[in-house]
């Protein structure tokens, strides 16, 4: 990031260095002051008392293992991961189907696929989950899965469409000219390449699934947030801060690892193999979707509303 933004200002001269140093000191002090104020206020409110001991030596006949392993890990983290792990393969298969239909030469296949994509991209996931619970009377777990699948198949279909649009048209033409049918060209030439260039965007989409599974909290599915709530209801009101803090750390750790995986794959694609599937990464944009360079995390915001 620095190499990019350093262009915005000169290598500082003696005056600018002095000025920057002053600013650095001032803003460091401001930030430290902010942190200090938070800690001081929290201290004043008695946050640093023995309520944290619930994490190592809990009261009410529970052991630390009960809190961490049985409750937070098995109940909470697994509860969050379960619908995500179920939803990913289903959403992927449906998205592939939608993508193939959308590229079909027949309007009767293309238009319904387009409508499905647009509609489910525009409806809140929570509304779909509630629909599952209220209208279909589903088990909360499956309502969460329904919400995740329906929304993400539309988003992934959009990502794949952008990936296909970013391929040079010669790929499709070559496929057709060696006698493959349009469907074969799609399955054997275009989709494999599209999936490859869009891999970082697809992986970042997992972060969205993980975050959206927390909506299960609202519809009464027992995941990480619900577990935290059960815990602080059980151990008493003072432990609220403790469990919200722990859960936030768990979420951030999981999501940041997944984001880093996406960034890592993206950077590997850029440096190690200069060509991805015969296509220069980092070339000028091809096609209307900003091209392969958009395959990165940035492509999220471009192709869908992912990571939200």
């Amino acid at each position: 990031m620095n190499s990019e933004s350093n262009v915005l200002y000169d290598a500082p001269g003696p005056k600018a260095v002095a000025r920057d140093r002053v600013f650095t000191v001032v803003f460091t002090l401001v930030l430290l002051g902010l942190v200090g104020w938070v800690v001081y206020t929290a201290y004043g409110n008695g946050i640093f008392d023995d309520r944290w001991s619930v994490l190592v030596d809990p009261s009410r006949g529970q052991s630390a293992q009960d809190v961490w392993v049985t409750s937070l890990l098995i109940g909470g983290v697994w509860g969050t991961l379960k619908p995500v792990l179920i939803a990913i393969p289903i959403a992927l298969v449906l998205a592939l189907g939608l993508t193939i239909l959308r590229q079909s030469p027949l309007a009767i296949a293309r238009i319904p696929a387009r409508v499905v994509t647009e509609v489910f991209r525009g409806i809140p996931v929570l509304l779909i989950m509630l629909f599952g619970v209220v209208a279909v009377d589903m088990d909360p777990l499956w309502a969460v899965v329904l919400g995740l699948v329906v929304y993400n198949m539309a988003v992934v279909a959009e990502i794949l469409r952008a990936g296909i649009a970013a391929l040079p048209s010669g790929q499709k033409e070559a496929g057709l000219s060696i006698g493959l049918s349009p469907l074969q060209t799609m399955l054997r030439i275009q989709l494999p390449q599209a999936i490859r260039i869009m891999l970082p965007a697809l992986i970042s989409q997992i972060v969205v699934l993980l975050k959206d599974s927390s909506l299960g909290f609202i519809i009464g599915y027992s995941e990480l947030l619900k577990t935290a709530k059960n815990n602080f209801n059980f151990f008493g009101e003072p432990t609220t801060v403790v469990f919200i803090f722990v859960v936030a750390v768990i979420y951030i750790a999981i999501n940041m690892s997944v984001s880093h995986l996406a960034t890592y794959i993206e950077s590997r694609m850029r440096t190690k193999s200069k060509t991805v599937a015969g296509l220069k990464v980092g070339d000028k944009p091809v096609g209307p979707h900003g091209g392969v360079t958009a395959a990165g995390i940035g492509a999220n915001t471009r192709t869908g509303d992912s990571t939200m």
Binding site: M1, E4, S5, V7, L8, Y9, D10, P12, F23, T24, F27, T28, L31, V38, T41, A42, G44, N45, I47, V119, R121, G122, I123, P124, V125, L126, L127, L130, V134, A135, V207, K211, D212, S214, L215, F217, I218, L225, A228, K229, F232, T240, V241, I244, F245, A248, Y251, I252, N255, M256, S259, P285, P288, H289, G298, T301, R302, D305, T307, M308
Partner: protein, 217 residues
């Protein structure tokens, strides 16, 4: 659909709430997001660190957890009492959406050709002149389509507020379907349509602008 028409005033009120929260939090998150983006490209180290830390924390936290934090953890921790309801919804959504605005604006700044900034620097423009007169005007053009996509997601995210005592569209779907058990599917379809009335025009606008910007380049 009959239940929706009978309760048109209720749905209209819920629709306006969704719209109001979206617009208010949208405007605030835009301002905060642009400030964060400026932090992240600034020459001052601590500001960059703060921007990066803020974005990483809030972007990786589920919105539901943010609501829960404001509801249950902020009062004992910071003595900060955000009143449940619309105020809390706007606060949480602003803190959350700003990170996405920041990232979109930042990648827009990075997408402007290096030569542009170099040229501006070489004719003697300062950091603020380079950013304000040369880079940002160009960045905003390529930023608008992804920014609209961020705000589409933002509008849909307002539904989370239904779980925290805000009577918006999703909450109205729940109430009406409880009152009219026989018309549940119609109620949900109608409320879904209300969301699409907002999100689909935004999507079309995003596509149009994207196409225009692509040609102009």
């Amino acid at each position: 659909m009959g239940a929706l028409i009978d309760n048109a005033d209720l749905v209209w009120e819920a629709f306006l709430t969704t719209l109001g929260v979206s617009v208010a939090a949208g405007a605030l998150s835009f301002v905060w997001g642009v400030i964060l983006a400026a932090f992240r490209v600034s020459p001052i180290g601590p500001l960059r660190t703060f921007g990066a830390a803020y974005v990483n924390v809030f972007r990786n936290t589920p919105l539901t957890l943010l609501f829960l934090f404001l509801l249950a953890a902020a009062p004992p921790l910071l003595g900060l009492q955000v009143s449940l309801g619309i105020t809390m919804a706007i606060t949480a959504m602003t803190l959350y959406t700003a990170t996405f605005v920041c990232e979109v604006v930042r990648s827009g700044i990075n997408s402007v050709g290096v030569g542009q900034a170099e040229a501006a620097r070489s004719i003697g423009l300062s950091f603020f002149q380079t950013l304000g007169n040369v880079v940002l005007p160009q960045a905003f053009r390529s930023v608008i389509p992804p920014l609209i996509n961020v705000y589409i997601a933002h509008v849909k995210n307002t539904s989370v507020a239904a779980g925290f005592a805000v009577f918006e569209l999703t909450a109205s779907a729940l109430r009406l379907s409880n009152q009219n058990a026989s018309e549940v599917i119609g109620v949900f379809a109608g409320v879904g349509l209300c969301y699409l009335v907002i999100t689909i025009p935004m999507g079309i606008a995003s596509q149009r602008i994207e196409r225009r910007v692509a040609i102009a380049r």
